[in-house]
Amino acid sequence: MNDSNAAFTLAPAADSPRPLALTPGQDLRGYLSALLGRAVLFFITFSSVLAVLLILVFVVIRSVGFLSGSSIVEFLASQNWRPTAEPPVFGALAIIVGSLYVSFAALVFAVPLGILAAVFLSDIVSWKVRNVVKPIVEILAAIPSVAYGFFAVLVLAPWLQKQFGFSTGTNALNASLILAIMALPTIISVAEDSISALGRELREASYSCGATRLETIVRVVIPAAHSGIIAAVVLGMMRAIGETMVVWMASGNAPQIPHPWWDLAQSVRTLTATIAGEMGEAPETSLHRGALFAMGVLLLLMTLGMNLVSEYFLARAKKAGGRT
């Protein structure tokens, strides 16, 4: 092996410090420095993974005191959230439900709209029009969440209150409408990617069978792209459940489960808003702070789970796209 390589090695050029083809035996220093460089680069690249691990470790460590000291059952099953009472009660059920509640409500608004918009961008308009329309979606994604929250509190809340006679404008409806707007760009771009990745053949086959565009899209394109669309919905949900400023400002922050369940006009509270709102008042090393970190762990687990689901579906969508 070494000999055969040596036979093909060119003689170094006059001004070149070392030969071009390397084996450890020929240029140990060059080989090692290349390896070292690669290792350094690898380590830097690995910092993303390191960051994820550090996030997990440090958020979990801070919550260990709470999770070992009090009952997880109470945390997950009780609706009483009274962190400053004597003795404190940390029942986060209503808050967990609140998080899921506004996120699902947001999806109810965002998914139909998002899929329609994705179909519009991929199947209906020309490339040129698409390039004009796409920035609208991008601007919606770029507006910072605090600006959405600002709009929710100062514009949407008074308007809802006046228009529908709600007792308060900062409620689940307000929060979920804004969350829907914020989740839309994610849903649209992921769904559009997977729909347009399907290729022309599928569509042309359908058209040649005499199907209209509606029939093609509903019966052929969307079923074929369902993996990508599911991934889009999951990613949209992730965006909604992890959002802080908007729900903190717009949801009313009442730790209660809406009753009746469909009444969006009631105030709710979410995990993110509770962390944001109470961290400043929770003394260090207190159970309260531990409980808030435990909420962070819960959020982290939810988003990690959803991330895995979305990756699974995205991988499937990629495979499906590659096959056709």
């Binding site: 680069l41 996030i55 979606v137 507006i143 944001a276």
Partner: protein, 547 residues
């Protein structure tokens, strides 16, 4: 097979619906940005009054002193009549103030007598006399019967010719008595207290109350109020109009028919007062613009000034500075990390399990909720890393920047990776064929070619860092505080400031232009950055397609 016509119709309806979804999105965008930009721009472009120019001169040393003085003289001329009308009216109603005045005159007169060394006998007599006058006047002030008042005042005025009182401070008694008699003749005495309260409210709206500024600002000669915002009247014409409206109209809950719920009614405030004060309302309404001199103003210094009294006056300079600091420090971390990671992923990646783990790490990092980054920043940077390195474990710019750098790392990596990947392979192959090493090829060929695309990633990360609020809640943002001196101080930022003003107290609600001004500055900053990124990307895309 359904009817062809129906199918065609359905198809058209469907197309229209999809188009409608985009129209709806556009409308939402306009509904959010339109009012925000419109109202936010009024922080810079508005009708500034003479009070605004006074404030700018006194607090920031801006403006032409001579012109301002001339303007102040002109407006004061007209305001004087307002002061006179109110003072005249108060002579009749403000019982406590009048009593206090009379007692003061009595004390002053006694001091005068002692200073003149008047003989003891006469001193006692005169003291006795003035005490009687004082008590008589006080009864008159507190009386609700006009005849009793007339009688008492007449008795007091009998002493007006007393030679011992001539030329002394006791003469003020008689001037006061005459004024009071005149004022008392014009009002319903049974409403003394009501009038006193109402006139106090009017003074609150016109001059200032304990906590809120008024239309015209404090009266000349008044000791300066402790709060800066109370030392000036309405600095903006829109604010002045709100105050004018409150001055002219009063909302009252009235029962129109027995048994029915109360309804909110708007009636002229003038009706709360007797005839003698009504001209004041017409006068102020007609002369408001002449008393305030509204003039088109461009207050660009909004972007550099510090705020005064929780954003009542001033601008958002420290917030902009803080946002820039956090962003720049964050970029110092994220740019090298992001570019190196992307380069490694493209150039050195084999499709092994390590790569899969790294990719999963990046995707996971992108999905972590922003508030969890805040928790992480607090637990890791502030409470673990800083003490370990010997720094004080407190929230600061450095902690916030590092937290945001971790948050935006996936954005940077993805954009850079895409940029590096889209460099045509022929570039690289050409360089390698010339004998350059892989490292040299990357630095000299691939990186420059990918630079515009990488720049897009940089800009997107910038805008992400500038806009995030949740991660810096516990790691470095404060709502009020000094301008930071180093990266180890916490800072105000546009994002946290927008939150703080949106949910803030009554004071913030009184200055919507500053509320909206803050959030619009943030939004425009981010949209400009994103617009630049979009333009850059389109140009790069065109260029690469052209090859």
């Amino acid at each position: 097979m359904r009817n062809l016509h129906v199918r065609g119709q359905l198809d058209r309806v469907f197309t229209a619906t999809t188009a409608l979804s985009i129209v709806l999105l556009t409308l939402v965008l306009v509904a959010i940005l339109g009012p925000m930009v419109y109202r936010g721009s009024s922080a810079v472009f508005f009708q500034g009054t003479v009070e605004f120019r006074k404030m700018q001169k006194n607090l920031f040393g801006r403006g032409n002193e001579q012109a301002l003085n001339a303007e102040v003289a002109e407006t004061d001329q007209l305001r004087r009549q307002v002061y006179q009308m109110i003072d005249g009216f108060k002579k009749g109603v403000d019982v406590e103030a009048l009593s206090e005045q009379v007692r003061e005159i009595y004390r002053q007169f006694g001091q005068e007598l002692r200073d003149k060394n008047v003989p003891t006998g006469q001193y006692t007599k005169l003291r006795e006399l003035t005490r009687r006058i004082r008590d008589k006047l006080e009864t008159a002030f507190h009386s609700q019967d006009i005849n009793e008042i007339k009688r008492a005042v007449a008795e007091v005025l009998k002493e007006a010719d007393n030679p011992h009182l001539k030329g002394t401070s006791a003469e003020k008694f008689f001037a006061l008595a005459r004024q009071f008699l005149q004022a008392a003749g014009q009002i319903d005495l049974s409403k003394h207290q009501e009038y006193a309260a109402a006139v106090q409210e009017v003074e609150g709206i016109l001059f200032h109350s304990d906590s809120l500024p008024g239309l015209l600002g404090p009266r000349p000669g008044e000791p300066p109020a402790p709060l800066t915002m109370l030392r000036y009247g309405a600095t903006r014409w829109d604010q002045a109009q709100v105050l004018l409206d409150r001055f002219l109209w009063v909302d009252q809950w009235v029962q129109e028919k027995p048994g029915e719920p109360l309804v909110l009614k708007r009636r002229p405030r003038a009706e709360l007062f007797p005839e003698s004060l009504r001209p004041l309302f017409a006068y102020v309404e007609q002369n408001a613009d002449k008393m305030l001199h509204p003039r088109r103003t461009i207050y660009w210094q909004f972007l550099i000034d510090d705020n005064i009294n929780s954003h009542y006056f001033g601008g958002i300079g420290p917030e902009i500075l803080g946002t820039m600091l956090i962003t720049v420090v964050g970029m110092l971390f994220v740019i090298p990390l992001g570019i190196i990671s992307a380069a490694y992923l493209v150039e050195c990646a084999s499709d092994g399990w390590t790569m899969r783990i790294i990719r999963m790490g990046i995707n996971t990092l992108a999905g972590v909720p922003s508030i969890v980054f805040g928790l992480f920043g607090l637990a890791f940077f502030v409470l673990f890393l800083f003490p370990a390195l010997g720094f004080e474990p407190k929230p600061c710019i450095l902690a916030a920047s590092m937290t945001l750098a971790v948050l935006t790392l996936p954005v940077m990596i993805r954009a850079s990776e895409e940029a590096i990947r889209s460099v045509p392979a022929s570039y690289k192959e050409g360089s390698l064929a010339l004998g350059a090493s892989r490292f040299h090829t990357f630095v000299a060929v691939t990186f420059p070619a990918a630079l515009p695309g990488i720049l897009t990633g940089v800009i997107l990360s910038l805008s992400r860092i500038a806009g995030e609020t949740a991660p810096i809640l516990f790691t470095g943002a404060v709502s009020l505080g000094a301008v930071p001196h180093s990266v180890f101080d916490p800072t105000r930022t546009l994002s946290y400031g927008s939150y703080d003003m949106a949910v803030g107290d009554r004071l913030a609600m009184m200055v919507p232009h500053n509320q909206y001004g803050m959030v619009v500055t943030l939004v425009l900053l981010i949209l400009i950055l994103n617009g630049a990124a979009i333009v850059l990307r389109t140009r790069v895309f065109k260029k690469l397609r052209g090859h």
